[in-house]
Each structure stands twice: as structure tokens, then as C-alpha cells.
Amino acid sequence: MPETLLSVRGLKVHFPIRRGVIFDRTVGHVYAVDGVDLDVPRGGTYGLVGESGCGKSTLGRALLRLNPVTDGQVVFDGVDVAALKGETLRKARRRMQMIFQDPMSSLDPRQNVESILTEGLVAHGIGDSAAERRNRVVETLDAVGLPRWAMSRYPHEFSGGQRQRIGIARALVLGPDLIVADEPVSALDVSIQAQVINLLADLQRELGLTYLVIAHDLAVVRHISDTVGVMYLGGLVEEASSRALYAEPLHPYTRALMSAVPVPDPEVEDRRERILLRGDLPSPANPPTGCRFRTRCPWVQATRCDTERPALTEIKPGHKVACHWTKEIASGEITVNR
């Protein structure tokens, strides 16, 4: 068992809803992330899936302290990052980097590539001379498949896929251990997505990186992750190895999600039975009582679901589910009620 690099315990991110101009008062909270535990082993890839509004991006940003943490611990290599402040926090950032969804808006349009990549090096005092830093930049560009003369160019002169490579290079140049990738390919064309996915895998193999990949696309997450966590309305509902999750999804939400993903194969599509969910995602400012999925769950029961919030419990080795009726649903004792 490899050592755990990142360990999250009871993480909560609540955003206050404020009203008023100068004398504002808090009128409620958005429970964006509400009690999440997860572990990522060194060198592994943890995939976080969920639909918009489930809190996956907020979680990713909170891990890097780009969002305020309301409660809980984020232990990175033995240090609780959630408790760090000021200069210690700033120094700690070197080892935890982020890749963003939109490669255009995440690059300063007025900076050329060299400046984008050098800025972090200067901020952390890496490299003794400009020449040394330049070397490091060239090496990093090479690693992500960009030529040396990309350095003097500006972001708008590149295609979407190339821009994402610049974003990856910016994260890599500091020599991080952990990279949080928030929807790293969803803004890219299909043919480019595969290039970037393969690049991320190559880099992980060569540099021993640890990834936390956040995405809404289950197929992408399954492809690159060892372990997958499924999020719904601020909490994890299921966590399993990527193989087990897709072979045997146990939580009703995971099942519905997987049945909804279109597969580019008419044979599969024609045979598919969709589990259609009713209605829309409830507001994270006013989540349902008990199980948060109960308002849309096809298997919802009259008891427990509305009163008790199910905890994420290990059903099989490495396979955790947050549902009161996992066994009954799996065995067919409880069927879909329509």
C-alpha cells in the first residue's frame, strides 16, 4: 500500500449569502461542500465526478486554499494545509498546483509564455539566475510538447489544445507533487481531449505526479483515475476503484448517472435502459433533509431516507457507498417505484 499523500477529513465549505450594501448581514449559507473525507495515495489518480452544482470544483479549490475552508482538515504530506496562513501557506503552494478548465481565461492575455512560466519560479526563488530559470522553462515546455520558440508568444496565438499545454506547463514548472485538474479537457475539441489525456498520463508516469481530477464526464474520469468518487450536492455518495465502480455501481445516483452517459456505439445505445431521474438538482442553499438524493431517487423509501443522512460506509473492500438501502437495492429486494 503506497503512502497517502493527501488526506481530507470532514471538509466543509459554506459560502455565506449576504444582503445589504455596507451593513451586510448573513441571511443563509450555500452548503457547497458539506463533510467530505477522501484519501489520495502518492502517485495515484483520484477522480471526482458529479454534475454542475455538486461542489466538486469548490472542493478542488478548497484543497489548494483557493476557496476559504469552513471546517475540516486537508492533510498534505503530513501538514494540515487548511490551517496554514500567510507566508507559510504561500510557500506550501509550490507543491500543490492546479490545471484549469478554460485555458484561455486561466492565462493572462498580456503575458508571454516565458513570463507565465517564469513568474512562479521567481515567486518561490527557484533557480539562481535568469539563465537557469530559462533552462527550466525550456525543459518544461519540451515535456508538454511545445517548442522552444513558444516562449515569446502570447496565449491568443495558440490553439485551445496548445493553450492547455501551457497551463499544464505552468503547473509543472514548479515541480509539484500534487496536481488538481479541474475539468482539464472539457473545453477542448474531442480529438484534442485525447492528446491532453495522454499527455497527463505520460507526465504522471515520468514524474511520479499525484492527480486529483475533477470532471463531469464519467468516461474521461474512468479512463484516467484509479479511484473514483461520485459527488452529489456537497457530499460523496460513492467511492470505489474505477473498475469496481463501473462494473458494479451501487448508489442509485451513480447508476442513474452511468445509464445517462451516451456511448458512441449504436449497439450499446439501442440496448440501454436509462434510469431517468426526476426533476432538477435541489439548491445547495437549502438541501433536502436526510439523504440529499432522496428527492430524485427512483428507489426512495418511506422510512430513513428523509430523516437520516446516510454516511459513506465501506460495503466491500475499497468500495464505499452512502445509501441506507444498498444491500436491498443490489439484491433486488427494493425495486424502482414509479
Partner: protein, 316 residues
Amino acid sequence: MSKKTDKIDALAALSAQRSETGETLWKAAFKRLRGNPMAITGAIIIAIFLVVAVIGPFLVPYSPTATTWLGEVSESQALFPGPRAENWLGIDHQGRDEFSRMIVGAQQSLLVGVVATLFGLVFGALLGGIAGASAGLGGRIGVWIDSIIMRLMDMMLSIPGLLLAISIAAMIGQSVATVMIAVGTVQIPIFARLLRGSMIAQAQADYVLASTSLGIRKPRIVLSHIVPNSLAPVIVQVTLLLGIAIIEAAGLSYLGLGNADTTFPEWGVMLTDAQRYLSSAPRFAVFPAVAIIITALGFTLLGEALREALDPKLRR
């Protein structure tokens, strides 16, 4: 293996572009500007205005204050000699050469417009920048600082510009400096609000988040990322307000708040003088009025063209 082919693609894609070094956004904007007839018209007007204002006063045929032809003027008989070979724009009511007065007046108008707008820009950008930086990255205390500054700006905005200018003039007396300060002060909240709004919008951008996660210090993020990216609308506003400042300065001079020495030519003063002769010699009003309108138009055309050229939506 796959990486190698990827690299070759990237090379191929990049070599397709002609220029050897990167093209900054400013360069790209300038290119777009050069292709826009609106910008060219505006630039030509401004260039002529600048040349006239800067070197014109050294080349004028006569002194703008010398009442050389006073003998030919008769107010009672409404006799004012019009344009002729030695006086291209005719003689004014005091027997002075109208052409020389227009040229020297251009310099005054430019000076007042530029200094007033610079005054507004410096203080407005300073206040707006502090407010924007505090609101964008300053946390709870920052929100407070921002609120205080912006409520102050709101108060300034709520007073009609002319009234504000007249009060300032009343406080510090009648002079060219008064006009400059008065016109500039009216512009402070405009620049402040603009820069602040633009900075807050930029502070939400992913690249600011990226800089934070790189471990870059906040002051550097503000100064080298947020501010440069927020300047485009401010620059556009400078050109637009320059035109307006010239009109406003003329207006204040017209009201008699400008230079105490009313014999010294300035387009606004010339308009004031002209009103008494509107029926007998309308050209006294037409020359400065047309000059003011054309100059303001030049700045407005350039400003609008700049707005288009710097629009991030048109970026490709």
C-alpha cells in the same frame, strides 16, 4: 512516442505563423486601429489640432491681443470687417485678428483639456485602483475600504458636474487653474468607478486564481496582472473625456470662471464675447464653436475606435 508526434504538430502549427516574435495585445489592437477609417479620421483631426496648438502660436501673423484694427470696427453701426487677404478670418469686435486668436486659443483649450483630464485620471485611477484591489483581493477589510471610497465617489457623482465645478471655482477663485481643477474633479468619480469595476471583473478571472495558486504575492498580482488587464476601458475613457473636457472648459470660461484676463484668447472666452454680436456678426460664435465641436469629435472618434480595437470579444 505519442509525445514526439505531438511536438512535431505544435512545431508545424507555429511555423505556419509568419511573425518571429509574439504579438502582444497592444500590437494587435494597433493593427485593428490602423484598418479602421473612424480611427484614422479621429487621429488626423487630433493631429492637426495638436500641431496647431503646439507650433501655431509661434507662426501666427499678428499678436492675438493687439487691437491693431480697432479703427475699422464700429459697434454702433455693427461694422466688423470680415475675412480678407490680411485677416483670413476677419477682425473681432475689439479690432483684433480673429485667425491669430483662434490659433492661440487652440493651445489654451488643449492645455486645459489635457491637464484637467490628467488630474481626473490620476486621482480617479488612484482611488479606483485602491478600491478595486481592496474589493477584489482584500477580504472583509477590503470590502470596507472599497465601500467607503465608492460611497464618496457616489456623492461626488450625485452633484451635477457644472454645479460642482462652479462651487470649486467659487472656492479657489477665477483662473485657468480653477477651470482645470473643476473639470478634472468632475472626472475623478468617472475614472474611479470605471477602473474599480474593471479590476473587480478581472479579479474573478481564472488567471488570478492561477497566480494565487502559483504562490505569487497579492501586490504583484494586482500590479502586474489585474491593473494592466483593466486599463483598456480607462484608456478609451481618457480619449472620450478629453473631448468633453475641452467643451466643459469652454463652458466654464463662457460663464466667466476662467482666466481673469479676458483679453487672452480661449475658445470658451471667445464664445462668451460673441454672444453680444450674435445678430450682427454670427461668425464670432461660429468659428470657436465649430473648432470645439470638431476637436471633440476627433477625440470621440478615436475613443470609439479604440474601444472597438481593445474589445476582448473581437480578439481572435
